[in-house]
């Protein structure tokens, strides 16, 4: 290694770090602000670190606003998302390991839905939900995004790498089709299911459009809708807003950091060759 190369490497690392810090600045600012007092956040010049750190804003979210309710609704929404994951895993297995009449056509239909943009389905889907009396319910918020074609595609690709011999052996031993799925296919698919589980959590936790459209009562609001409410209020209250934002962001960051490696590995093993 020449000396010149080292200087270059240091310069590159320095520049990348600087840009990363600029990109991450809004998050740092959010967390710092959430611990400040209201006067401090609207004063000039602004301070970066809180002068008198306080949890007051977080407490107010739960005391003055129905944040506990929003959180519970969000967790229900995420839980329903996992039902969708089970359905998608079943479909992935069906497409990957069986040959049946209409298989090609049905799989094509699944893929075709990937090309339809969300905004086209927005109003018709609302009409369909209304027809089914599912507006203003958490189920109604979850249904439109419950089954995602691209996830079925990934699961199908992964599951097609499971050796047929394993399944055949289980059949000879007298295992039923459902039992093979639950006790052999699902455990063998753990890497891809791990990724899907993380993505399902993030998608449910962050989902905004459908909760916004479907929820009418405050009792049905999710964290994202409740947070957008904070945004609309006429009184400006940065610590409260930033505390609300932090409550939405930090769990996702923790989930992401904990499972980052699974995400990479899952993609590795989905074996799309």
């Amino acid at each position: 290694m020449t000396r010149r190369f080292n200087i270059r490497a240091v310069a590159a690392a320095g520049a990348l770090t600087l840009v990363a810090l600029i990109a991450a600045f809004p998050f740092l600012w959010m967390i710092a602000t959430s611990f400040k007092t209201l006067p401090e956040t609207v004063s000039s010049p602004p301070t970066f670190l809180p002068a008198h750190p306080t949890w007051a804003a977080y407490r107010r979210l739960f005391d003055e606003l129905a944040y506990a309710r929003y959180l519970a609704n969000t967790l229900i929404l995420v839980a329903i998302g996992y039902v969708g994951l089970v359905l998608m895993a079943m479909a992935g297995y069906g497409f990957a390991k069986y040959r049946f009449r209409g298989r090609g056509t049905l799989f094509m239909l699944v893929l075709a839905t990937m090309m339809v943009p969300a905004q086209v389905t927005m109003i018709p889907t609302y009409l369909i939900l209304n027809f089914a009396h599912l507006t203003n319910t958490i189920t109604g918020m979850a249904l439109p995004g419950l089954v995602v074609a691209f996830n079925i595609f990934l699961l199908t690709q992964f599951m097609s790498t499971i050796p047929d011999e394993v399944l055949e052996a289980a059949r000879i031993d007298g295992a039923g089709e459902l039992r093979i799925f639950l006790q052999i296919v699902l455990p063998l698919s753990r890497p891809i299911l791990a990724v899907q589980a993380i993505l399902t959590f993030i998608a449910g936790w962050n989902s905004f459009l459908w909760p916004l459209i479907v929820a009418n009562d405050e009792s049905k609001y999710t964290l994202s809708v409740g947070l957008s409410l904070l945004n609309r209020q006429t009184t400006v209250d940065p610590p409260l807003q930033m505390a609300g934002a932090s409550l939405m962001v930090i769990p996702i960051v923790i989930v992401f950091l904990l499972f980052q490696r699974h995400i990479v590995r899952g993609f590795t093993l989905s074996g799309l060759k």
Binding site: L16, Y98, R99, A112, V116, T156, D164, L209, S228
Partner: protein
């Protein structure tokens, strides 16, 4: 199953392949499953039970809405018809005539085109530059940096809008404070102006780079080392290698990112919606936002459906064009 000993490069290799698989999905519709499974007992009805729930969901929430949108766009349906759909009736192409005569529609279309024309190239250049930088090393620092860059991509849009709304605040936002330190008077970052448009687009760009960086990084790390070594032996410098070897070799990822980013920005919605706190701002209203406002604020379902059909046609046409350009490129 778990290849624990695999190197990161190998992993990224596979991610690259997966990106390829994504990119070709559309063109592979004709032969959906390459790997055909072996003969199965023909009598079992099990596969239908396995695929039925998902297929049913996608029929109801993926295919049916397109048909419904097409039909509703020919009616005068509004909120009143939700309770008793009695007065809704077919009015032919009236909605489309009204749509194309609405100056707000053309403004929204212009905004959308502008967002795509500016946003997509900027996102691609920034993401590619950062990914090229990040691909230099796999050290702990660089892995941490990757996570930092990915952060905006996994954050809820509502949280993003609150954070940026505070930064952009005209009275006590940090950005105006920074301007004041160099003697510039406060500006209205989110106003009905080109600046308002730029501010909204900047947040969209900031948010979109995370995922694209990861995709580019995966593709770059999937380029076999031998190519750049061979280029080095031939006397190519780092820049030359980047532009003549690496970038041509990741053109598949470039294409994939271009297509998906264009589609996403044609549907530009979240940033414009939340940053303006639901208030209509003509300078930042995209087509999607226009449809939402007409449909859910003013409750004109028929009219808004006509708008969504127009948007669908636009996206389909642009995507088809891109796929065609891609084909002629090969």
């Amino acid at each position: 199953m778990v290849g624990g000993a695999r190197t990161l490069t190998e992993r990224f290799n596979v991610v690259t392949t997966s990106i390829r698989a994504k990119a070709t999905t559309v063109s592979q519709l004709a032969r959906p499953l390459r790997r055909s499974p072996r003969r199965r007992r023909p009598t079992t009805r099990a596969p239908y039970w396995f695929v039925a729930p998902s297929v049913a969901m996608l029929l109801v929430f993926g295919i049916l809405p397109v048909l419904v949108a097409a039909i509703v766009s020919l009616t005068n349906m509004d909120i009143g018809d939700l309770a008793s759909p009695t007065h809704a009736h077919f009015i032919g192409l009236q909605n489309y005539r009204q749509l194309f005569g609405d100056s707000a529609f053309w403004q929204a279309l212009r905004n959308t085109v502008l967002f795509v024309a500016v946003g997509v190239p900027v996102i691609m250049v920034i993401s590619l530059a950062i990914a090229l930088g990040l691909s230099r090393s796999e050290s702990r620092l660089y892995r941490a940096l990757r996570a930092l860059y990915f952060l905006p991509a996994i954050t809820a849009i509502v949280a993003i809008s609150l954070i940026w709304g505070y930064l952009y605040n005209s009275q006590f936002g940090v950005l105006n404070y920074l301007l004041s330190t160099v003697g510039v008077s406060p500006v209205e970052w989110l106003g009905n102006s080109n600046l308002g448009r730029a501010s909204v687009a900047a947040v969209g760009i900031w948010r979109a780079t995370g995922l694209d960086i990861i995709i580019f990084l995966a593709a770059i790390m999937g380029v076999p080392q031998e190519y750049s070594e061979a280029a080095a032996i031939d006397g190519a410098g780092r820049w030359r290698t980047t532009f003549s070897v690496t970038i041509p070799l990741i053109r598949y990822a470039l294409f994939f990112v271009a297509v998906t980013t264009v589609i996403n920005w044609l549907q530009f919605f979240d940033e414009a919606f939340v940053l303006n706190q639901g208030r209509p701002n003509p300078a930042t209203t995209s087509l999607s936002l226009y449809i939402y406002q007409e449909g859910f604020k003013f409750n004109q379902f028929g009219f808004a459906s006509a708008g969504s059909v127009a948007l669908f046609a636009l996206i389909a046409a642009v995507t088809a064009l891109q796929l065609r350009l891609r084909k002629s490129d090969d």
